[in-house]
């Protein structure tokens, strides 16, 4: 058991190392470095000033030295300095993190609240046409880009109904009521973008469980279909669906980048977009690495948890496994 845990953790670390190298190298494939982009704005900058900047940022060193400097810092929590704002990257991210976490957290909660009934009710009512309608909506939801959802919501609520504004932010700690008002549209947008995926995963695991023999036993006791669904099918379907949590987190992070731009939400997503415009590599590589790490860590935790619970569910897991992170059939569909 311990061996399994160690193996899994080890392979996750290797994956993270690969990701960090990939990101680092990708940013530095083109000749030229941040100095050429930044100071080029002000022509008439002396070569000495450029050299000085290069040395300060450590850009005159060979690539693998630069990489090592960065990664050895990251491991201990030192993310280096932004190339443009003189602030440590860690501080910049920390400033923006609460906004993104609030948004993502609210969206995830909402998405679950939407997805579970949507997946379960058609099964519960055993209605074929309801299932068809659900599938149409899920397909439509998967095809609708997150920014389209945002625009439609803004059009409808802000423009026509004049209910919420299309942008704005207040920290929760300052003014909870106003903060909530600003949170509604962005969170609902992101939730609607994520929910269809969740429904698909749930439907998959439910379909797997519904065929199990213990469901037949439950029906055979005469407890009624409603109880069969709520006490036997759903509880056994939730755990396999959990294996999709890693992908869900990935989609949440990707989606929040766009949502934050749409609604001018001051989170980490906006930060990374600004950094791309300015070619602030230090910020970009750190944020992207952290985002990928979130995916890897969540997937690792879920896998280990599953391993812990596995002996108990050894029989039903083989029947009720939802798509895991390596399974591509569900994530092939377009999703940001």
């Amino acid at each position: 058991m311990l061996v399994y845990v160690l193996k899994r953790v080890g392979s996750s670390l290797v994956l993270l190392a690969f990701i960090s190298i990939l990101i680092f190298v990708a940013l530095r494939l083109l000749p030229g470095d941040p100095t050429t982009f930044s100071l080029a704005q002000g022509d008439g900058v002396s070569p000495e000033a450029l050299e000085k900047m290069r040395r300060e940022l450590g850009l005159d060193q060979p690539v693998f030295v630069q990489y090592w400097n960065w990664i050895s810092g990251v491991v201990v929590g030192n993310f280096g300095f932004s190339y443009f704002s003189d602030f440590p990257v860690g501080l910049l991210i920390a400033q923006r993190l609460p906004a993104t976490v609030t948004l993502a957290g609210a969206a995830l909660a909402l998405a679950i609240v939407i997805a579970v009934p949507v997946a379960v009710v058609p099964l519960w009512l055993r209605s074929v046409w309801l299932e068809r309608i659900t599938n149409v909506f899920v397909a439509l939801g998967l095809a609708t880009p997150v920014f389209v959802i945002g625009i439609l919501l803004v059009l409808f609520f802000a423009n026509f109904l004049n209910l919420f504004t299309g942008s704005g932010y207040v920290a929760f700690t300052d003014d909870p009521a106003a903060a909530l008002g600003f949170l509604v549209l962005p969170a609902v947008t992101l939730a609607l973008a994520i929910a269809p995926q969740l429904v698909r995963y749930l439907q998959g695991s439910i379909r797997g469980v519904a065929e199990a023999t213990f469901v037949r036993t439950a029906r055979g006791k005469g407890i009624g279909w409603g109880r069969t669904v709520s006490n036997h099918i759903v509880p056994n379907a939730l755990l396999p669906a959990l294996t999709s949590l890693g992908i869900t987190v990935g989609s949440l992070l990707g989606g929040s980048v766009v949502v934050e731009v749409v609604f001018a939400w001051p989170g980490v997503g906006q930060l990374v977009v600004d950094a791309v415009v300015k070619r602030d590599y230090a910020v970009i590589q750190t944020i992207v690495l952290l985002a990928a790490s979130a995916f890897v860590v969540v997937t690792l935790i879920v896998d280990l948890l599953y391993g812990v619970l596995d002996p108990r569910l050894r029989v039903s897991t083989s029947q009720a496994r939802a798509p895991r992170s390596g399974d591509t059939s569900v994530i092939k569909e377009a999703s940001v």
């Binding site: 036993t217 005469g222 036997h232 056994n236 108990r312």
Partner: protein, 284 residues
């Protein structure tokens, strides 16, 4: 005269999507009160389908095409789930082949028995729990006060099957369907379970359909044996007569295939069956 606990008439079962494929062709039989009938046949003979259809639990791809099934004088064919639920557990009950996959892995054993009880009895949860503990005791589960809260995977195969039996008899059904209840168990456990069933069925005066591929096992438990082959009942006789003087060649072959300690190792186990049609009639 008591009405039979189970009356099956001209039952036809087939694939829902393909009317050409029939799996059970016009089966007729009756089961009287307290009677134990063995339904014997090889895989694919339709015996499991038959018993599942009586409960209305046949797979979605399968449907009952025509015929009648009357359980305790209630017609079952063509009824909706809600109606069937009033009969399931209460009037007729079933135990299944694989006790591990047939029990909900995330709920305790006691919870599942209580669920069965409270489906048909409006008593309190506490009373139902006490009944569940008693039931566990009467099926031979050790230390029922503690084990009632255990999960299925914490029991051995034989114990799980006892739990299933407890669950099935909890509402005192008139008809018990047993679908290969001992096939997944080892021989000694098998014997104990049969013994348990023997006692319980006698005590409660239940009728039993015992589905199995093992004709020797059926002979040890049932008072009457119906032999099924390819969707038809080819012979039905009281056990003693069937074993002594089987009328259908298929029955003959089944009996001949039984291995005992003094079987000649050089004798071929399977001999070709000369078909002469259905023998033995119904016991209607």
């Amino acid at each position: 005269m008591d009405k039979p606990v189970l009356q099956v008439r001209e039952l036809r079962i087939g694939l829902r999507d393909d009317s050409a494929v029939n799996l059970v062709h016009g089966v007729n039989f009756d089961i009287a009160r307290g009677e134990r009938v063995g339904l014997v046949g090889e895989s694919g003979s339709g015996k499991s389908l038959l018993s599942l259809s009586i409960m209305g639990l046949q797979p979605t791809a399968i449907e009952v095409r025509s015929g009648s099934i009357r359980v305790s004088d209630h017609e079952v064919v063509g009824q909706n789930e809600k109606y069937l639920d009033t009969l399931r557990g209460r009037t007729m009950s079933m135990i299944y082949q694989d006790p591990m996959s047939s029990l909900n892995p995330v709920r305790s054993v006691g919870n599942q028995i209580v669920e069965a009880i409270r489906a048909h009895d409006s008593g309190s949860r506490a009373v139902a729990r006490r009944v569940a503990i008693d039931l566990l005791g009467s099926v031979g589960v050790r230390d029922p006060h503690r084990t009632v809260d255990n999960y299925p995977h914490e029991f051995s195969g034989g114990m799980r099957q006892r739990v299933m039996i407890a669950m099935a008899i909890s509402c005192e059904p008139k008809l018990l369907l047993a679908d290969e209840p001992t096939t997944a168990l080892d021989v000694t456990t098998q014997a104990k379970i049969i013994e348990l069933l023997d006692d319980l069925v006698d005590q409660r005066g239940m009728s039993v359909i015992f589905v199995t591929h093992d004709i020797a096992l059926a002979a040890s438990f049932c008072s009457r044996i119906d032999v099924m082959r390819e969707g038809e009942i080819v012979e039905t006789q009281p056990t003693a007569k069937l074993v002594a003087a089987p009328r259908h060649p298929y029955t003959n072959a089944l009996l001949a295939a039984i291995c005992t300690f003094d079987t000649d190792p050089n004798r071929p186990l399977l001999s070709p069956i000369v078909d002469t049609g259905t023998e033995g009639g119904n016991s209607a």
